[in-house]
């Protein structure tokens, strides 16, 4: 069963085609790593999947609830950690937002500072709060844009354990990343984008784990 499908998706920004007929199918319960150089169209495709942008042409189908972790942490500086998560729980239609917020804070190790304002948090704590926010409603599909970028060690460990648990629980994960080693620890499938096109999709294989550059050499555009 497909969790996410993109068919001949085009996206123009002015005259510039960020996506040029991209096709992608992601099976439910799999973890897809979107790879590609800067400007390949990874973020644009993820934003379309998240409903933040409409494709200029083509069709996108999403089967299930979505959690999104983008470049920004997506939390309010002038609300406490608990208030932030309760708010997002309400927006997501969670049955008991306060209970869900407490559980999410527990998962990311922020229970002790639940009443502290987000603006008073260290960078690592803010990132963990963002991770808690994205996982709060236990979404069917997790969309992560460069999730490991600028995370501290603790936040990376928290994120990886949450992603493993989500995958084990049947969630689908799509993440764009340049950090192939961290991504390959979780990815079951890989999609390679080049200049707005998906040039390769397939299961992860041993060569990718042993040598992350192998993907770019094999499927990437020769520079």
């Amino acid at each position: 069963m497909l969790a996410v499908a993109a068919e001949r998706v085009w996206k123009y920004f002015g005259d510039y085609p960020a996506l040029r007929g991209a096709n992608l199918e992601v099976e439910a319960g799999s973890c897809m790593a979107l790879l590609g150089r800067n400007g390949a169209g990874k973020t644009t495709l993820l934003r379309i999947f998240a409903g933040l942008s409409n494709p200029t042409k083509g069709e996108v189908r999403i089967a299930g609830t979505v959690g999104y972790l983008g470049h920004g942490i997506g939390v309010y500086d002038d609300l406490s950690a608990f208030e932030n998560l309760t708010l997002f729980g309400q927006l997501q239609g969670v049955a008991d937002p306060a209970k869900a917020a407490d559980e999410a804070l527990e998962r990311v190790g922020l229970t002790r500072v639940k009443d502290g304002m987000a603006r008073e948090f260290s960078r690592g704590m803010r990132q963990r709060l963002a991770v808690a926010r994205a996982f709060l409603h236990l979404p069917d599909i997790l969309l992560l844009d460069e999730p490991f970028t600028s995370l501290d060690d603790k936040a990376i460990a928290v994120l990886q354990s949450l992603l493993e648990a989500a995958l084990a629980g049947g969630s689908t994960i799509i993440m764009s990343t340049h950090q192939i080693r961290e991504a390959m620890e979780l990815a079951t499938h890989v999609a390679m984008l080049e200049r707005g096109l998906v040039v390769h999709t397939g299961p992860q294989n041993p060569e990718m784990l042993a040598d992350p550059a192998w993907l770019y050499r094999t499927y990437g555009e020769k520079q």
């Binding site: 998240a50 939390v75 002038d78």
Partner: protein, 227 residues
Amino acid sequence: MTHGFRTAYAIARKDLRTELRTKESLNAAASFAVVILVLFSFAFPLERDEFYAISGGLLWLVYSFAGALIVNRGFARELPNDCLDVLIASRAPGWAIFLGKAVAAFLLLLIVEFICLPVFGLFYNIRWTDSFGSLVLVIVLATWGITVVGTAFSAVTVNVRVRELMLPVLLYPMIIPLLIGAMEATTVLLSGEAMAGDNLYSLQLLVVFDVIYTALALYLIDYVLVV
């Protein structure tokens, strides 16, 4: 639908909570409005009766200036940390996000307006308490019109680099009919006339404006937020 109204309530509560903590736009709008009222009282040395004739115009000019300051923060409040993306990516319907923001801006602008009323009465020697009930009705109707149009344009201009300049340029021409109605109704009430007969037209104009622009904004907001 129920989820939508719950979402609108959560967004309005969040906006009010953050604004009352930071007082970013509330302090600016209230102090600006009071200063303008005081300055106008010295700039136009009119007789008491003449003040009554222009009272509605004066009051609504000040309220509309303060309104632009309040609604400007509406969607701009979501820019730090890319919170707008998270709002849109959540299950929250666009109309509910808009409604929550409009309600929060409406209540904030009402606070500013009711702070201004005693100052207005004091500096212009105008009795505004005689027709308080009707005046509140006019203020509520016109303030909702300003905030609904202003919040819609706040969404339109949220990603524009010069949004603080763009918003008033778009807002004021659009709310001219509303301001005319509000000014006329307020002048009638402050002059001690009854809100009946021909005087009711301005009130009807406010109601029609509110209904049309609220419906339009709620319907079109998804096209503004997701492009």
